[in-house]
């Protein structure tokens, strides 16, 4: 509790009283500003407006879990010994005492059993990593589904995709460090991936492992990448991500008074700072609870790495699951020609599919902008239903991801559900291709239905739940008009542009090549916008409302006149 000094006399009668507290703070501020010029920068930003919506919190989870990763990771480095030198374990965990293992594994066991709070921090670090990647992915989906990636934010989308890639590699190098049986199995698979690379594969493997697998270099090298190289890159990209966020100002949902030209919300100081800062403590707290209460990566159960051993049901961390699934369902394709081997069964799922998936993700904003020909800046978000094709593209990608991921657990599915692993694998081979197509069609039609539903509510009002029986015995439901703010939010979206027709393009007299490209583009645009429901015009809305009012009036008069009136009518 600070003492209130504002009413304490600080004068002897000849000098005017001045409050002491602010003077000290002011002096420091003055000292700093004279050297750093913070006043100008802070004037603009202290009351910077951030719009409020629960979905804007998803990226924050990623940010804060990364901060937790830095804090817990720093703690772990104080004890972890990234060395593959063989030692006899002689710590507190009885079942492994006297067992040969690498220093990395032994020091991981020491952190888990002989450092107070060590296991807590190890588990927090691992949980935070799982949450970091998961929240980045969910944040990415939010940004995509709501159209927040559109101009001017495409580059921030690219940065976000790179962060997802780096976070995944960071996770892999991290969980490989303890050198336990499970992670060693993963590193051995990584050696297989390198060797499958055309031409340079074996050289890559020998250089990275410092000799033949497993060698004595991979853990120290992964450690360097894990605690220095990758975090530095991630930190730099996060900084760029945040700077662009501040420069562009956050997107907002359309609504009364919220336009493309403004941003409406709470000022950074105090509300947003408090909410974001408070949320950091919540993310940190939840991770601490998880680290204390839920076991993760119990390396002592797997034991040290031994190239001749493996546990059944070996699985990587969750974000590595989908390439692992593709690796399981790929047919046994290898080409043997001229005395060389091309291992499609490794290259396609590992060296081709994940980079391709990432490139598709990165390309999405540019592809959409090219197809729709949209060059405008956008700061108002779109509901997923209002751009059905876009939503369906992400749903198709998610379906591919989800099926591949499920294929990564085909052995678990077979055991738990008493199915044949062969049949699951055959099913998945087809499903990863057919599933996304079906999902695309369903999602697109679903969006269009939802658009119709929105229009319906706008034109005829919402279902009030009040049923009215006419004197003839017919039943009708009373529809009430939407509140103006809701009705406005629904209509505050663009009408889809009308794509050029082939005749229009021909009439432009462009060179043949440009004409061809332009026609492809127009065709894609027609497919992109096909069947979308456009918002009503003012005239349509006026007519419909008039009609709805008339119906309502009739129902009301029936209720007034009816002999069997139940409950009160809605006054409005």
């Amino acid at each position: 509790m600070s003492v209130d000094v504002s009413k304490v006399a600080s004068t002897n009668g000849s000098t005017p009283a001045t409050p002491q507290g602010p003077k000290a703070a002011g002096a420091i501020a003055n000292w700093a500003d004279e050297r750093l010029g913070l006043g100008t920068a802070m004037k603009k930003n202290l009351r910077k407006v951030f719009p409020d919506h629960w979905s804007f919190m998803l990226g924050e989870i990623a940010l804060w879990s990364f901060v937790v990763l830095l804090l817990t990771g720093t703690f772990l480095t104080l004890w972890f010994d990234p060395s593959m030198t063989e030692v006899y374990y002689n710590g507190s965990y009885d079942p492994l005492r006297g067992v040969h293992m690498s220093s990395a594994m032994a020091s991981t066991l020491d952190i888990s059993f002989d450092v107070r709070g060590g296991l807590l921090v190890r588990q927090m670090h691992h949980w935070a990593a799982a949450i970091f990647v998961a929240s980045m992915m969910i944040h990415l989906m939010r940004v995509y589904f709501t159209g927040a990636f559109r101009k001017p934010r495409e580059l921030n989308w690219v940065i976000g995709c790179l962060l997802l890639l780096l976070g995944t590699i960071e996770g892999f190098t991290g969980y490989s460090l303890p050198d336990d049986l499970l992670s060693g199995t993963g590193v051995r698979a990584a050696d297989g991936f390198m060797k499958a690379s055309p031409v340079v594969g074996t050289y890559m493997s020998f250089f990275i492992f410092g000799g033949e697998f497993p060698g004595d270099s991979i853990i120290p090298r992964f450690y360097m990448a894990h605690i220095l190289l990758l975090p530095a890159l991630i930190l730099a990209l996060i900084a760029a991500h945040m700077l662009l966020l501040v420069y562009h100002k956050h997107t907002q949902w359309p609504g009364p008074g919220r336009t493309e030209e403004n941003v409406v919300g709470y000022p950074m100081l105090p509300v947003y700072m408090a909410k974001a800062g408070g949320f950091f403590f919540i993310v940190f707290g939840v991770i601490a609870l998880m680290g204390g209460l839920f076991s993760i990566n119990a390396v002592w159960k797997y034991g040290p790495y031994d190239p001749s051993k493996v546990t059944a049901g070996s699985q990587p961390d969750w974000y590595m699951g989908w390439p692992d699934g593709l690796l399981r369902i790929i047919p046994a394709w290898e080409t043997h020609i001229w005395g060389i081997t091309l291992s499609w069964n490794v290259m396609l799922p590992i060296l081709v599919a994940p980079p391709l998936f990432l490139m598709i993700l990165i390309a999405l904003p540019f592809l959409e902008a090219w197809i729709t020909g949209d060059k405008r800046e956008h700061h108002l978000l779109q509901r997923p239903r209002d751009v059905p094709t876009r939503t369906a593209i992400m749903v198709a990608l998610m379906t591919f991801y989800g099926l591949s991921w499920a294929a990564g657990g085909n052995d678990i599915i077979a055991i738990k559900m008493h199915l044949s692993i062969n049949q699951i694998t055959y099913f998945m081979r087809a499903a990863v291709f057919i599933g996304p197509v079906i999902a695309f069609i369903i999602a697109r039609r679903w969006c269009i239905s939802l658009q119709r539903h929105s229009d319906e509510k706008l034109l005829h009002g919402f279902e009030s739940g009040v049923l009215v029986r006419s004197p003839e015995g017919a039943y009708a439901e009373k529809h009430l008009p939407l509140p103006e703010s809701q009705a406005y939010a629904i209509t505050a979206r663009d009408r889809d542009p009308v794509p050029e027709t082939d005749e229009e393009i021909d009439a432009m007299g462009l060179p043949a090549r440009q004409t061809r490209i332009r026609k492809i583009r127009a065709k894609l645009a027609r497919l992109f916008f096909a069947d979308n429901v456009q918002k009503p015009t003012a005239a349509e809305l006026h007519d419909a409302q008039h009609h709805a009012e008339h119906e309502l009036h009739e129902l009301d008069s029936q209720i007034e006149a009816g002999p069997n009136r139940h409950g009160p009518t809605e006054g409005h």
């Binding site: 060797k195 497993p214 420069y247 509300v271 408090a274 493996v310 052995d411």
Partner: protein, 365 residues
Amino acid sequence: MSDAHNNDDHGGELVPNEPIPDPGLPEHTWRPTDVDPAKERRAELQVVAFFGLSAVSTILFAVAYFTLDIGDNWHVVGGFGASTMALGGTLGLALLFIGIGIIHWARKLMGDVEISELRHPARSSDEDREGTLQALAAGLEESGIGRRPLIRNSLIGAVGLLGVPTVVMLRDLGPLPVDKLYHTIWGDGTAEHPMRIVRDGIWTPILASDLEIGDLVNCQPDALHNPERYDIDPAEVEGIALQVHKSKASLILLRMSPGDIKPGKDAKGESRENWTHEGIVAYSKICTHVGCPISLNERTTHHLLCPCHQSTFDLSDSGKVVFGPAGRPLPQLPITVDSEGYLVAQSDFDEPVGPSFWERDYYER
């Protein structure tokens, strides 16, 4: 037609025909804590209570740290070490209460008037662009880089050449593969002492007669435990070297009825009928897909399944792939028995073990 307009359609043009005009920001509604001093006071106390609970949790954390044992005397509570659980629980609550307190403060007591700020286009103004271009042109002109192509090109060449040290210096990351992937320690038996096959872990040699039909044994070469017998320096089978040997030499023995075996062909195209001993076959344990050790045996079919990606190999038929992603059969080790009746390797594998790589050849069994 309404004369309302939406100005985000087509680059800020005014488009009539918008169904509903923007009603503008709704009026601010006061919260109970804004108008009722009692409620305000209550919210204030709630926030203080959250911070207080956090402080209590932090103190409990310190207490747990110094009172709960770890190491050999850790206590188990619900399957967890008491220390880890108590530390995680108290730390988690200490953090959560601060977070909840701050957010409660923000929601109930801080001003909740939404304010509006104007956006600016991301692009710079035309004057700024013009100024930048002028500055750039002036700078380039003064440097003379356009007029002196010799300087420019020699600089580009010199800097580009610096890529060479960058690449060259990585050379010592590791040795060249040479033929290391083509040999295992199974080939290091001598005429006097052919390489014995021993049980993994207990290192005992195996009498052919000790194996029953259907028995599967995980094996290693005797030299890893007993190098002197084969004139091998013990330092070559210790520590990392041991791991390297094991990652190539791990072996599976399976005894089946001799009639079940379909002998395939070896690399020279000759029959493998002499590679087995009384129905005992020996195959590399390392999967030819990405190198997991294979471990799951289907007793009735002689099929062996890799637990990582479910490649399945038929050990009665030259280790051919019957299911899954692996692209080529398991390498077979030709075996026989020595003068004492113990199983030994006749020679090394006739092909590299483990995952495929670019330079390796293939032959039909």
